[in-house]
Symmetry: C3
Subunit: 349 residues, 3 copies
């Protein structure tokens, strides 16, 4: 325990997030954020937007216990305590130099695992059946993920570090190790670089086959922010279908952070980006900047996918936390439209 | 009118383009370019390539009236005057800091709208049925798009401005607001940054389902330039099918402008790029540089798409404006091959 | 011959590669590398990793003869000598400023050609039927590819040079010139920039419809390296299906080289990237860096594609060249799983 005390506020903004304590005796808590769920609408964040905070490197080893569980409807999820599995699973957030030790408890009757993108792991933590790295039904197993800073390899050539908007998922369920993804065994993983700007809140959007977070409109997540908040999006693709992620009225730089590295950074700005199986990206926007509060759509821009229910709502509240009338009306139209009365509720495009 | 006079030459090169005057009394003209059409072949630009010109910021508010119209064959288009609708619609071109006020006249019997990518708009200009922002049949409605420069948010972190190769489209036709795209309600939108290099001409290529600009070979646009001209391509994806755009014998930097920001810019150079629904990109090439005049193919590199007619011709003329014999022969083969006599006219690959 | 002597070591590392001499009298040898084949497993490279070497520009004209040949199973390939055609064809590697003159001998009874990406060629070397640029059955024809450095076009604006991870392929087989790709007529082309870091070895991975290098698991290439070697991957997409390339336990910068241009380079790091028809990218990793030796999967991350056999093995040996026990066991599981006994051999995800 000595090397891994509960560090409330170690990223400087923990008080605004849910710290989910590890449930196994002796395990310290990993700072983590419940992935964007519709429940967030009921408990909006305060509008306070303090000065910018940046990530600090600590080289900490975080130990967390995760539970893979069966959920209603044939779904599966990861959670940080028994009975708390969600789809997507908990957002894991660390800083380059940190190590994550994940003790995965498999409460199901299926072989499964946890496999990360973007971080370092040896073959025993690969999470693949190929490397004999998985949990049998009922088994508990620990996976270790290391991270590191970028390193110079020769003159101008630097090898990238671990920082990025990544994700994790099962890699062992079913004959080919690919069925857990369909059923919800995935989540977000953010590795920050020392000095990266921290957001006020983070949303996780997973385009998984023809669903968003295994849901279809109008059951897809409604993400909720207050005008001026620095909102971070982590977008992940899974399954067997290609998509494009579009967010109305906001745009970002198509690079590691979503913001430019200086006034002459030639990076492309986008508001629509391919989101295909196994890929992920993230960015930060200032909610409603230059466009005001309102209900803004996010959706797959492949037209028959948005027609089919791959859309959701990004609610930007007034500065005082109230919902603009026009936003409430849009949300009402959206729900009515997807409940059988389509009419003027079109959500695609 | 005072704040928005007709500014012929405000971008420094208007004399080489068609200025399409707004048709509604009191509305000033927006500098705009007819989207690349085969008609351009009949009136090639002169070969003159003067010194490089760059975009200047003026903070102007441009007012333009657009007309959504039904076209033969069940198609629809936008135009800058009644009876002049085209597919794609007129190319709209502004500079960061400008505002565009578009008065859309819906001459059709369908609900429709105009929705932009990349710029700022409030919910009333969202163009979506979701936000009750559309034109009923016969209705006229004004949409306002704002733009801004990049802004620093913290130290090295800069939020991107509006500059980019964007597009606009209907977002309200049909139950899901996605049917207007299929029928041709889309166009290009370029927001330049102060100092950006201006092209001699701009081509707009829209991969829309299995068509290019709602046409198939050999009816797809033939783009026409003279050796050495600085030619700009704006590529837009729409519909429900994924594509890759390939241009023969020319390449570009995969960033905001298509050119590098200095000799050590590590940006990837490409001659083939994903072009999926809702995405867009642009670039400039020097026509025929290093490869000479000729008929060069552009096409979707997904093989069964190019087999099916997603290809076209980029004609690079001799410096004196004449067409090389080998180019005319290639064009003839192309038309013969798509008229039933396939033989040696293969156009894919 | 005087301008093009056999230059063993002209890229500084030729002794570690196979120099395949041109087979036509009078033609000098092009330094080239046999594309990664499973045969490499039988003859692993030594573990020696000397100091970093970088590409030098020489402005050389390389002349090479290639043979297009029919192969068993209805396949076709390119080779550097009669009877030596492979899928993919030989890796061609040059430096910006070089010229490649390829004399293509068509030993088949089909019309075909060679068409490159990323380099300069006139219409007579376009390799397309459209430009009457192909080999009739039995015909020999020479194609010339030029390269150049980036050039300034105005102030900060630089036009990209030829450097990149490119490819070549047939563009004339069949009515539409697209059937040669299906049958194996493709290969890798690398154009380096002066000063680029040279790898110890290069692997070529082509996602072509539902195959990797026209093979499916477990017949896909096993790539073989020693811990600490600088390994270069050239990834190419072909056919009519979209894919995402994923490599376990290694990541790279999503730019021209795969490494960062300095400590503040904002380029995105990825371990999963779209690989669609006509596109290509490359990168270098240090084999097993931070993760150790072992058998690591590379695969398409579209789940039904990996389920269907689009996966392979990247073997990272111990520093002494031996194979770790766990790696051999994984390889054995992989082969058993794809031989009918699936069980715990899942290879997707």
């Amino acid at each position: 325990m000595a090397d891994n005390p509960v560090r409330r506020g170690w990223l400087g903004h923990l008080t605004r997030r849910s710290v989910l304590a590890g449930a196994v005796a002796g395990a310290a808590a990993l700072p983590a954020v419940a992935a964007g769920s519709t429940a967030a609408l009921a408990t909006p964040s305060s509008a306070a937007v303090p000065g910018l905070r940046t990530a600090r490197a600590t080289g900490t080893t975080h130990r967390v216990t995760m539970y893979a569980e069966a959920l209603p409807g044939g779904l599966y999820g990861y959670g940080l305590a028994p009975g708390e599995a969600t789809i997507p699973g908990p957002l894991l957030e660390i800083v380059e130099g940190d190590t994550l030790e994940i003790t995965l408890v498999n409460t199901t009757n299926q072989r499964l695992s946890i496999h990360p993108h973007g971080v370092d792991y040896d073959v025993f933590s690969d999470g693949s059946a190929f490397n004999d790295s998985f949990n049998e039904p009922g088994e508990t197993r620990t996976y270790v993920w290391h991270t590191r800073e970028r390193t110079t390899s020769a003159g101008r050539a630097w090898l990238p570090g671990s920082a990025g908007y990544w994700h994790y998922h099962d890699h062992a369920y079913g004959d080919h190790g690919t069925q857990g993804l369909q059923k919800g065994l995935y989540g977000g993983l953010i590795v920050r670089r020392k000095g990266d700007v921290l957001p006020d809140k983070t949303f996780v959007v997973v385009f998984n086959d023809m669903t968003i977070n295994n849901k279809m409109a109008p059951e897809t997540p409604m993400f909720d922010a207050v005008l001026g908040e620095r909102v971070e999006w982590l977008c992940i693709g899974h399954g067997s279908v290609d998509h494009t992620f579009h967010l109305h009225a906001h745009r970002w730089a198509d690079n590691r952070t979503g913001y430019l590295d200086g006034p002459n950074d030639p990076t492309l700005a986008v508001d629509n980006k391919d989101l295909n199986p196994g890929s992920s990206f993230g960015f930060q926007v200032i909610a409603g900047e230059g466009v005001g509060p309102g209900a803004w759509m996010y959706h797959c821009h492949v037209q028959f996918h948005s027609d089919g229910g791959m859309s959701g709502v990004f609610l930007v509240r007034n500065e005082d936390g109230s919902i603009p009338d026009h936003a409430q009306e849009a949300i009402d139209r959206y729900h009515a439209g997807h409940g059988g009365h389509v009419g003027h509720s079109g959500h695609g495009g």
